[in-house]
Point group: C2
């Protein structure tokens, strides 16, 4: 990097470059945009990050980030307590919420099992999920169904199998999101695996 | 956006989405990465932005961002004061410094003339450049050459023509960066305009 940019700007650029989606080049562009729009962007973003660092915590029940604990979803009495959707990260939870397709509770694992990356069950919030299901089923407000909404990747499916084994029992049904052709998906552009699964799971029209 | 993410996180995402290179989707991924790496990324980035907002100013001579005024380059006595390189933004200045190809001073215009976007000469630091050249040429330490290092786009070339007209005189030579095939550039992948310019400016091998 140019020494001329000064250590403060260099440091800002190297931190921005750690964000997913930004490389060294786009981090420089982002730093430049921040410097150009000091009052509209730089100052508000600094304040917003500081506020987030100060106020946002992980929900002790589901693991999702929120300013209160338990989080807004876990403390929402209108949502079905007997239905838990298991997701990898909060990003998947937000996507699910945007879809409006689910009115139960969530459980954020915080990652996926991965032999390659050395991520074992002890690194994820799996024991918390098992404990949560057991606790609810002993104390009333039983969990009827756990929906595994994990990615359709090798690690995602390994994790799904592991979680299913740990929590399945006579009282709890474990399900997974359906596989198939996505809305707007043209067959030409779909991978073979998706087509095979969509064919296997075909339904009367 | 999901109401469940909370207003602080929503605000952070919408601010991140204003950075060049980040859209709404990648801003969410970035926010998630920040929340996951609180101590390594979120807190340092908040501090770095606050420090930048507090300490970095625009150099009153050249317009580049730095923590001191005049900036490190403008106050560097070992650099040629008679040579000024005109750039659109600090990003171009940093690129030029990384190349090590230039040992004069800079002048940051802060943009390009654009009829479409309503950017006129009064919005750019052109009057400052004219005044700077005149002042130096009256007071000693004359400016011998102004190198226009502006983008090879319509707006860049319009701006270059305008600046050249404003500052050219008997004592000041105005030049532009050479056009041609970039290093590593394969002819197959170059646009016709570049090939035409490279052919016109061909030199003995």
């Amino acid at each position: 990097m140019a020494a001329s940019a000064g250590p403060e700007i260099e440091r800002l650029i190297s931190l921005l470059a750690k964000l997913p989606g930004l490389g060294p080049r786009s981090a420089r562009r982002a730093a430049l945009a921040l410097l150009k729009r000091r009052e509209q962007l730089l100052v508000p973003l600094a304040a917003s990050l500081a506020e987030t660092a100060e106020k946002v915590v992980s929900c002790s029940v589901c693991g999702a980030p929120d300013t209160r604990d338990p989080c807004a979803i876990c403390s929402d009495g209108s949502r079905d307590n007997g239905l838990i959707c298991v997701v990898e990260e909060a990003g998947a939870l937000w996507a699910m919420e945007r879809s409006g397709a689910f009115r139960g509770k969530y459980h954020v694992l915080g990652g996926l099992l991965s032999a390659l990356d050395g991520v074992g069950p002890e690194h994820l919030r799996i024991a918390e999920l098992v404990g949560r299901v057991r606790h609810q089923n002993e104390g009333g407000g039983a969990v009827r169904e756990v929906v595994l909404a994990l990615p359709a990747t090798v690690d995602g499916q390994t994790t799904a199998h592991y979680v299913a084994e740990r929590i399945s029992g006579p009282d709890v049904q474990v399900t997974s999101l359906a596989r198939g052709v996505p809305v707007g998906g043209e067959l030409d552009w779909l991978d073979d695996g998706t087509i095979v699964q969509a064919m296997r799971a075909r339904r009367p029209a």
